[in-house]
């Protein structure tokens, strides 16, 4: 109940912001922040709940972006259908990659996901129709009323996707599937011995996670009016998607949301006020600090603080 109230408030806030804020740049930057909320939430389904660290975010994200771009070039497909197609393709990639790589454990799985990014990038560098290495220029269509600017429309679309992604992640977290994924993270052998179909659950998590990443990538070509492989399959997406849940906390759906809001906003501010290079450094430093000082993230810190306050109150009585 509280969650749906929160969802309604988030949706209302999104509408209010879209209706009142006049600066176009706000929507341009806000889009990126919301995109990282989707990516971090998606990453956390496999990486946080099941404990399978995935560096392959750019592969799923990029496949989604290219699916949208190619379909738009070929048939001028509407944005909603581009997103649906991108999610489907990235979900299928998740299925294939999951079946192939999720038998690997720990570091080996992580390495396999890096390889996935390289493979996907190579495919699109060599696909002439999709623009090859030089990229593809795309002309935006007119925004759909009531939106007066396309960027503002994309901002709202990404906001809706962020709310949807969080709702999906939370549903999984609270269900028996989420419990099975946590069992896998704690001990895969014990999970299997207690009736958990570990491979099937991991592949499921990989498909959902991949599909959401693909959906997050779909509006990207329209956002930039351009797409090219090097920036689309950029490892910064992998780092952002991984660092946000680590900083926010991986055990709870709110962790990636808090982490992504904080990290992506900071990055936007630093990019504008200082420099683009420093913003990457910032992620690294924050990540190291949190892993060392607060391995359970901001959520973990808050819980610890709450417990401490509660026991102190008890002692005072």
């Amino acid at each position: 109940m509280r969650f749906w109230l929160g969802t309604a408030i988030a949706a209302a806030a999104l509408a209010t912001v879209a209706g009142t804020v006049k600066y176009e740049y706000f929507f341009f930057a806000g889009y990126t922040v919301l995109m990282f909320v989707v990516l971090a939430t998606a990453w956390n389904i496999l990486g946080g709940y099941a404990g399978y660290v995935n560096f392959g975010t750019p592969a799923f994200f990029g496949l989604g972006a290219y699916t949208a771009a190619v379909l738009y070039k070929a048939t001028a497909l509407p944005l909603a259908l581009q997103i649906a197609a991108a999610a489907t393709m990235a979900g299928l990639l998740g299925l294939a990659a999951g079946l192939l790589t999720l038998r690997l454990r720990g570091i080996f799985f992580a390495i396999a996901t890096i390889a996935l990014v390289v493979i996907m990038e190579t495919v699109f560098i060599n696909w002439r129709y999709a623009g090859g290495a030089t990229g593809l220029q795309l002309l935006r269509p007119a925004p759909i009323p009531p939106f007066e600017s396309y960027t503002k429309m994309l901002f709202v679309v990404m906001g809706v996707m962020a709310i949807a992604a969080v709702a999906i992640a939370r549903y999984i977290e609270r269900s028996w599937v989420g419990r099975g994924l946590r069992a896998i993270r704690d001990s895969e052998e014990a999970a299997e011995a207690n009736g958990v179909p570990t491979l099937r659950l991991k592949v499921f998590a990989c498909v959902v996670s991949g599909a959401l990443m693909g959906a997050a990538g779909a509006p990207m070509p329209m956002y930039l009016s351009f797409i090219e492989p090097a920036s689309t399959f950029n490892l910064n997406y992998a780092v952002g998607a991984l660092a946000s849940p680590m900083i926010g906390g991986t055990a709870h759906w709110a962790g990636p949301v808090i982490g992504a809001m904080l990290l992506a906003s900071l990055q936007q501010i630093v990019t504008v006020t200082v420099s683009n290079e420093i913003n990457v450094l910032l992620v690294g430093v924050l990540l190291v600090i949190f892993i060392v000082a607060a391995p359970e993230g901001i959520i973990g810190l808050a819980q610890k603080l709450r417990r401490k306050l509660a026991s102190r109150r008890k002692a005072a009585r």
Binding site: W176, R179, G180, R182, A183, R185, D186, S187, E189, A190, A191, E192, A193, N194, G195, V196, P197, T198, L199, A251
Partner: protein, 238 residues
């Protein structure tokens, strides 16, 4: 006699090391069966092959008349084989009760509310009811062993494999765990006990086999085993 578990000529190699070498065992429904042997003799490998965490290289394993040696572990658990782990492997991010919800939901296929009451019932029987909400990474060694057993019980097995459930426990605690196992057996569950505490295995088992270097060197009643010269040699190196 129809055996509940029929292990036939099972071998398992790890590279050049032969962990199991043509092991055959037949266990009757309702039996209390002891499995002993020195360290590294293949006891845990054998039950890993039976429970599905490892696949045997050759031979066959039948449970309830069905060949299971190529089934994934989770299907074997759903089929009625539950086990504990020698080194306790709790789901450490979960409280005690939630540990039991995993088999209640995934094996018994109970809904959330039903699973909770099933799990609470088992915790009561094993004496962990007071710890239901305790994070499982804050349990003592005895409690961890009990949690292992409780989780295996929650899977409603027909065959329960207890892999050193009593290792590191003191006398009274051993009696307590033995009592639980006896009670489970009385309710119709077949039990395989792997144990280093001889006195416990001998008291518990109706029949015992002794493994050494991947082969069965002796099979019989506890009395036969204690008197057997090969067993004495395997343990004492005499």
């Amino acid at each position: 006699m129809t055996a509940l578990l029929q292990v036939n000529n099972v071998s398992k190699r790890f590279g050049g090391f032969t962990a199991l070498d043509g092991v055959s065992v037949s266990i009757a429904p309702g039996e209390r069966f002891g499995l002993i042997g020195p360290n590294g003799s293949g006891k845990t490998t054998l039950i890993n092959c039976v429970s599905g965490l490892l696949w045997n290289d050759s031979g066959s394993i039948h449970f309830d008349g069905r060949e299971i040696s190529r089934l994934p572990a989770y299907k074997r658990t759903r089929g009625g084989i539950a086990r504990t782990f020698q080194v306790p492997r709790p789901f450490s991010s979960m409280p005690v009760l939630e540990n039991l919800l995993v088999p209640c939901q995934y094996v018994v296929q109970a809904g959330e509310a039903e699973a909770r009451s099933l799990a609470m019932d088992i915790l009561g029987r094993i004496g962990l009811a007071g710890k239901a909400d305790t994070p499982s990474n804050q349990l003592s060694q005895v409690e961890l062993r009990k949690l292992e057993l409780a989780r295996a019980m929650a899977a409603r097995p027909r065959l329960l494999i207890s892999d050193e459930a009593m290792a590191g426990l003191a006398g009274a605690e051993v009696d307590e765990v033995l009592g639980i196992l006896f009670k489970l057996n009385e309710s119709g569950i077949t039990i395989i006990m792997i144990e280093h505490i001889m006195q416990a295995v001998m008291r518990f088992s109706q029949r015992v086999i002794c493994l050494d270097a991947g082969r069965i060197i002796c099979e019989g009643t506890p009395k036969d085993i204690v008197a057997n010269l090969d067993v004495q040699r395997a343990y004492l190196g005499a």
